[in-house]
């Protein structure tokens, strides 16, 4: 029984690891191919199956005028939009979450839980429902096809995540902490800033990571709300996926775009192993 279980366990773990890694290996291999080695027959291993070339990687930094793809600018756009929107969402979301966790609100039939639900329920909204009115809204105020417009939209995507994680987290930070601070003569803002916040670093890190992940991976809003002035990374990469697809530069740009967040996987794992995350995520 237990031998069979151990065998099945390792079999499953191996199987899943291969499944997870397979598309990455395929992308790495493809990124070194040329037209011939993509289109003649399926090839896998460089030098053995095909002669590797760096062409797929070179076009990434060439300007479009010279037949390149130039993903450098979209890259910085993506970083800017993701980070700015995450930062604003975290700040506003954390403040709101603190209020919802510590004070009681009453307005008609609305209670704390309803307000929290209102924040979180924004995630239910399918992007398509918002994209048409946002399109018209942003063109009215002249923010269509601009970084600032995207930041505004991304706040709607990210603030619910920040509130969701931080409300749960603050609920587990003992109330005695702020009460002691208040007795010691802090005003509520000082109590929050000097006592509660420093004790909430793990929660803030988790909320921050989730905001960055969900900001970085969004495609649809960037696809609808920007055209030529501003391009984000996912839109740029998908645009390569036209009728005659250059699989090599597609693979190379895909790898470059997903690389930064894979570091996040290591950070998350560190926190899991140290046991800090389990409190923040429940």
């Amino acid at each position: 029984m237990s031998k069979l279980y151990t065998f099945l366990k390792y079999f499953f773990i191996t199987f899943w690891t291969v499944f997870v890694v397979a598309p990455f290996l395929w992308a790495v291999s493809t990124s070194f191919k040329d037209f011939q080695s993509v289109n003649s027959k399926v090839t896998y291993i460089p030098w053995l199956d095909f002669e590797p070339t760096l062409e797929g990687w070179r076009v990434l930094v060439k300007s479009p005028a010279k037949g390149g793809v130039d993903i450098v600018e979209p890259y910085f756009n993506s970083i800017f939009v993701t980070c700015t929107a995450s930062l604003i969402s975290i700040v506003l979301g954390t403040l709101a979450a603190y209020a919802l966790s510590r004070f009681t609100f009453k307005a008609g039939f609305v209670r704390n839980n309803d307000i929290t639900f209102f924040f979180i329920s924004q995630r239910i909204m399918p992007p398509i429902v918002l994209s048409i009115p946002f399109f018209i809204f942003l063109s009215t105020i002249g923010l269509l096809d601009s970084l600032l417009g995207l930041v505004v939209v991304y706040i709607v995507l990210l603030m619910p995540i920040a509130v969701w994680i931080m409300v749960d987290f603050f609920n587990r930070v003992p109330k005695e902490l702020d009460e002691t601070a208040l007795i010691d003569g802090c005003n509520p803002y000082q109590a929050f800033y000097k006592v509660v916040l420093p004790n909430s670093i793990p929660g803030l890190i988790v909320a921050g990571m989730f905001c960055i992940i969900f900001g970085w991976i969004d495609f649809f809003f960037a696809f609808i709300l920007t055209f030529t002035e501003v391009q984000l990374l996912p839109v740029k990469v998908v645009a390569l996926n036209s009728s005659i697809t250059p699989w090599w530069s597609l693979s190379a740009s895909a790898l470059v775009s997903v690389a930064p967040l894979i570091i996040v996987a290591f950070i998350v794992e560190r926190y899991l192993s140290k046991g800090n995350l389990s409190g923040a995520l429940k």
Partner: protein, 288 residues
Amino acid sequence: MNFKHKFVFLFPGLFVLIGILIFPIIFTIRLSLSGWNSYTPEMNFIGITNYIRLFTDDPRFWESFFRLSFLSVTTVILQYVIGFALAMMVWREIKFKRFFRVIFLVPMMTTPVIMTVIWRTFFHESLGPVNDLLGGLGVKPILWLSDPVIAKFTVIIVEVWQWTPFMFLLLLAGLLSLPKEPFLAAAIDGASPFRKFVYVTFPLMAPISIGAIIIRLIEASKIMDTVFVLTSGGPGTATETSSFYIYIKGLREFQMGYAATLSFTYLVIMIISLTIIAKVLTKLMIKE
């Protein structure tokens, strides 16, 4: 505590969110009562004509809705089962534990559309590695993207790859935060691993499971990126989900008014059904 302070904390976030959302929502409702399309691009008023059309004369929307339900429920169940299994496996000591944890987390950090572009080359019917390797085993080429039934499963495979890590993360974090005493008690009673799971681990994990499933269902109901790149809703309408159908009506055919009707109806259905699912799940999984 002083009365005013709590509003200083709450209002910035609340009002920014409401401020950004109020226009789109009112606008969608108003638009849904208009006949805005590419011939008459104006905000006229045609009453509930669009709603009548939706409820009496648009089987394609309802088909896309049931397809979406099928896809999201299937993927979430698979993600839950696999995610739970993976979390259980790397919960306790195991060789290369941290390595496997990182590997299991990686897909959720990658951009769905971008990975889907890679998956598209992966499942390419003549130049992709899957059919090539299967061909080596003597399997006939499988029409991953152009067969109406198989294309659905291809979408499911990609979605499961992408989002099982999310389930895995929430469940593993939950497992790691469980109290030790119930497990000690079960060990003293000499419970088998199977009974331990059924009577100790699973009930303790029920609240976390419900949370994780509901969050995933919410996210899965928005499935769009994968379909958009992988199959564009095709072949035919075989993988067309509600979002994608609304996208076609609104931004390809420019029937803005009708698309707004679809959007608003879809949103209402989504909120109602997710609330019901949440209630039912809570009842089913927490018996005491």
